[in-house]
Subunit: 367 residues, 4 copies
Amino acid sequence: MYFIKYLLKNQFIFNKNRKIVKNIIGDVMNHEIDLSKYSIRTDLAIDLLDNSFEKNVIDYDGILVSSIYLDDEKSSLFSKKKGNYITIGFDDVTDSFNQKKVMSVFCDHVRKLLSDIGIGQSDFCLVVGLGNFNSTPDSLGPGSVDKLVVTNHLYNLGDLDDGFRRVCSINPGVTGTTGIETCDIIKGIVDKINPDFLIVIDALASSSLERVNKTIQITDTGIHPGSGIGNTRKEISVETIGKPVIAIGVPTTVDAVTIVSDTINFMEKHFSYAKNNIDNPINKLIVNGGINYLKKDVFVSKSDKKELLGLVGNLSDVEVRKLISEVLTPVGYNFMVTPKEIDFVISKLCDVIGNGLNMALHSNYKV
Amino acid sequence: MYFIKYLLKNQFIFNKNRKIVKNIIGDVMNHEIDLSKYSIRTDLAIDLLDNSFEKNVIDYDGILVSSIYLDDEKSSLFSKKKGNYITIGFDDVTDSFNQKKVMSVFCDHVRKLLSDIGIGQSDFCLVVGLGNFNSTPDSLGPGSVDKLVVTNHLYNLGDLDDGFRRVCSINPGVTGTTGIETCDIIKGIVDKINPDFLIVIDALASSSLERVNKTIQITDTGIHPGSGIGNTRKEISVETIGKPVIAIGVPTTVDAVTIVSDTINFMEKHFSYAKNNIDNPINKLIVNGGINYLKKDVFVSKSDKKELLGLVGNLSDVEVRKLISEVLTPVGYNFMVTPKEIDFVISKLCDVIGNGLNMALHSNYKV
Amino acid sequence: MYFIKYLLKNQFIFNKNRKIVKNIIGDVMNHEIDLSKYSIRTDLAIDLLDNSFEKNVIDYDGILVSSIYLDDEKSSLFSKKKGNYITIGFDDVTDSFNQKKVMSVFCDHVRKLLSDIGIGQSDFCLVVGLGNFNSTPDSLGPGSVDKLVVTNHLYNLGDLDDGFRRVCSINPGVTGTTGIETCDIIKGIVDKINPDFLIVIDALASSSLERVNKTIQITDTGIHPGSGIGNTRKEISVETIGKPVIAIGVPTTVDAVTIVSDTINFMEKHFSYAKNNIDNPINKLIVNGGINYLKKDVFVSKSDKKELLGLVGNLSDVEVRKLISEVLTPVGYNFMVTPKEIDFVISKLCDVIGNGLNMALHSNYKV
Amino acid sequence: MYFIKYLLKNQFIFNKNRKIVKNIIGDVMNHEIDLSKYSIRTDLAIDLLDNSFEKNVIDYDGILVSSIYLDDEKSSLFSKKKGNYITIGFDDVTDSFNQKKVMSVFCDHVRKLLSDIGIGQSDFCLVVGLGNFNSTPDSLGPGSVDKLVVTNHLYNLGDLDDGFRRVCSINPGVTGTTGIETCDIIKGIVDKINPDFLIVIDALASSSLERVNKTIQITDTGIHPGSGIGNTRKEISVETIGKPVIAIGVPTTVDAVTIVSDTINFMEKHFSYAKNNIDNPINKLIVNGGINYLKKDVFVSKSDKKELLGLVGNLSDVEVRKLISEVLTPVGYNFMVTPKEIDFVISKLCDVIGNGLNMALHSNYKV
């Protein structure tokens, strides 16, 4: 999928000189298949933690924030980097009232994380907008950066007022269109202007239907652009850049494997709930009524799964994903997709992140 | 889904005066649920025809064109309007070589349909681009119209050269942003300028994974904007407009129900094929090899379905769709989605349709 | 200029079939020359009134509003249509504080004009955005309309709250790209949906440097699209549409003739002021100090003009414009130009007009 | 002007915290005034050379190319950097036939310059698009870069075909929005990826009406972004970057001083020509006929100038510019402007430069 995407970005190459890329398609494609077969396509730490893992979740007037710290042991267990992962879940940012609430919760947690890791009120910040401005679901980074109050050039011309720190920003573009490893662009600029810390913003891949466009992840572990979609870009983190890197991401895309496997889970819950609670023509399964079984506490027995889904009902979640991936990938249908309304939602999310960062970075900034 | 979309378009309403719309949400939502529960979300006639229905399919160097005529009987049978349906299927329009082939096949079939229904070389044409230019997957219409050679204003200033007919165009916008029934805008203009026929272009909803962004439908039956996604707009056809209406559409979106039900069909084929052809750890189902079972001729027995999928294996395709819809809709996950690369693909599709129409309408036009 | 512009819009025609238009260039060009030679390129009534004409000017905290009524006699005298002309002059809409002030003054005067001409609180309004969305200085109309709260489709679904009237909108595009006379598009829609009145928004041509992007004109006389730039479109007014038409315009472009003739006037003031007030090396004229002679009350004598500018000093303002036009037009340099910052200014002006209209049309609307 | 522009880009700063910038407005503004008073606002070398300077001009089927080499002496004489300056003058790039001719002449001269300064067929190139993508007249750089065939990332994955060199690109944005000195961004990236040479593309300021959007300058002296418009950015050249820097520019803007002073020159030619060739009511000056005096060889005597323009007629060209600048600047009317059609023209110019560079850099590239 990544490869197709970057070919699309390189339309001239793709169209005018297919031979150039012919000799590398093989590797990438195999790599693609392996990846989608054996890993879950996600950038969200929270989706990797099984239920045994206890999370600290706080409800801010309907906005759920879970704060996780992965130590050495847990990080290797979940093969995620060691560090803090803050996950903000919300319903809808297209309602301006709700949007304001999300923005202020987001701002507070960015501030908190910055102070937790010892970044000072007046430290110099470089904000990086990852992703391709010309691809709507991938434009979260550049779109958010365009809303920032940058002050570094004014700082260089004269003093700034109290409550405004030195901030600068860059939209480095994507390797598919620049031909340069994005990490190298950032590292080069950092070496030249020497900021105290970085904030990188990127659109992520989701591993659950319910998080698409409805979650913001904040972490101090940096980011691995495109890692969620089988991309092989270099990581952007303190290890590669030499400065603390706060990564902010929103999952804007999801793959077909996830849509199908989530739906199969929902089917099982729906079936167990209906079976035990509703007078239901079991031979048809159709309840003919919109019940929200997710709001209920539903236990799904092994026998229910087996009855409903036969051999598929015997599989573990990971095995189900493997099966679906093996079914869809060779026939070319393991799409990465995004909701039809993405243009409208992205513009609201860019407001939340861009202005939320303005408030978090400049204590005297008023929306 | 439609309703959310149109609220998103009416962001001020949505944000500033939720009460305005509160009293109508109910109806639309129920309507939504009914619709998605009992019908297949599609605008493509071909997807409604079962395999018993024999189609006349011609292969133009890899581009498959099926031409169907629905008479009174068949049209009521498939609850599609009586008339001609031409479906052009292709692999990839991001390869400029392939793009040219698709464009010329498309042009030829538009020309043929026009002459078949008795429209003359110099008849006056109004082209209408339906959809919302600000929503990428819905921008096919306006994007194609922007590429047209319009000549009507020049005709009114002096004579046109041979090989150029009178053409004019309009992008009426969408009801969600204009507040006007799109059909009324078009009818008003038609009554005023009196064209001989109309061509309307719109993005459609697909009812199969394999058609998304890979099919062009041409029909002389007009169009029912948004009918594929539970929208209630007025039909645009000879009955409502009073002039022949050729509708050109490409499915750019697909709903989660379709993704899941298609995948379940693929699973069954994959299973039956693997079971009979591959030494396969049946208790795991995983073949560990990318075989393309769609390319094979695979028979799926009732017992295979039952073994693989239990009760779900007993359901007919329509029942499976009902079940999935009933599972996803009440929990709000029956998304309409579009592939991540939509921005790039749409721009190519607009080239194909815009310039293809220029060639079909102006015999002396050269790309 | 108009003609070049519309060729640019019709790039295919222009490039692929120059002969089509060859036979009409002559007329249009001559027409162009005549027009620019003998008339002042402007859509602003206020610029046509000589100083003898006394205007009623009110200062709203730095925002100057002049209200003029042209009766039969005066309207023929100034060859402008009979009716009300309200001109709002301001300094800068890129300062959000100032922007809010302009918006509320604009809103108040729209409300007042509506009630003055007997339009009721709940009358049904169609707002039309004239101009080409793809040409930045011409995108004021569509850009403003995109910010409107349209309610007509909700009205048709159920009752609206108090304080919201029926509003709908359309962006008809420009004749150069639609091939249809814009007036016919509007008339057709009006006949179909029957609004009580229209508001049309368009970018205008200015006849003075100081008004570019710094004036809003509101009039109940309708509009003659492009009349300011030698365009021959049909008028949009009660006479052609059959409904009251309020026209709202901002001059976003100015021609070279105006820039030069304004500068010559400034030179004369500068010279007279410097001569009488500053110890000035008269043989050089250079004062070497930034004095603002416009803020002063400067009398320019005939002899000063003659001394400074020789024969040119003998000419009347109209004669100077004729001369400059005659000098620039045949060599192709009588450009219509727009300030380099137009992209940023237009977006602010669209805010002012779009949200100002929301407040004026919906009494319960809050920004 | 630059300052206003960058305030507009920093809308939040400008609106929300005017005090931040208050303390630096003074300097910049004074600087502005000085600059516009004492220098000609231009980036085009050719406009600085008086007629005594003999140029080597070749006519390629209507496209005029002048090649200049400034040695130490001449470069200090004209205060332009030492090096090669190639100026391509054309009429119209909106005619696709003419556009192709310009593209191939441009390509040939880029190739020639590269080989003249010893850059090899397979040397590694970084192309930089200067300017602000969100400001139409300033978007030439990013718009051209978006059309490039970048290959460096493919080179790193496998071998490239013959006839394709390593090319990568970056759009660094403008200091007003990034807060970073653009030269530092480029230098940082260059130090990291070590290209053999750079090509930088930027929109320029013109010092003559006739060159706006009708000239491409190619030089090996690098570029001083915004130097033409009173901007104080750091130079981008071999001295600051450490690699050869080819600069490609098109003047897309012109200031009011230039429009007026050019017009005054035209007036004098028009007057002298008319006086000696046409029976002309001298007391009115109006010839009432569109004669193109520029095509004629017209001598303007001192006495003609004095008779026509009084004291102003006594001034040298530089003195006239000083006077106009002194007249317009303090009253805030020394605009930088761009033609009304800029959106359409820029898109064509980006085609010419982007695809012209593809042909010049990749010998096997076909449009």
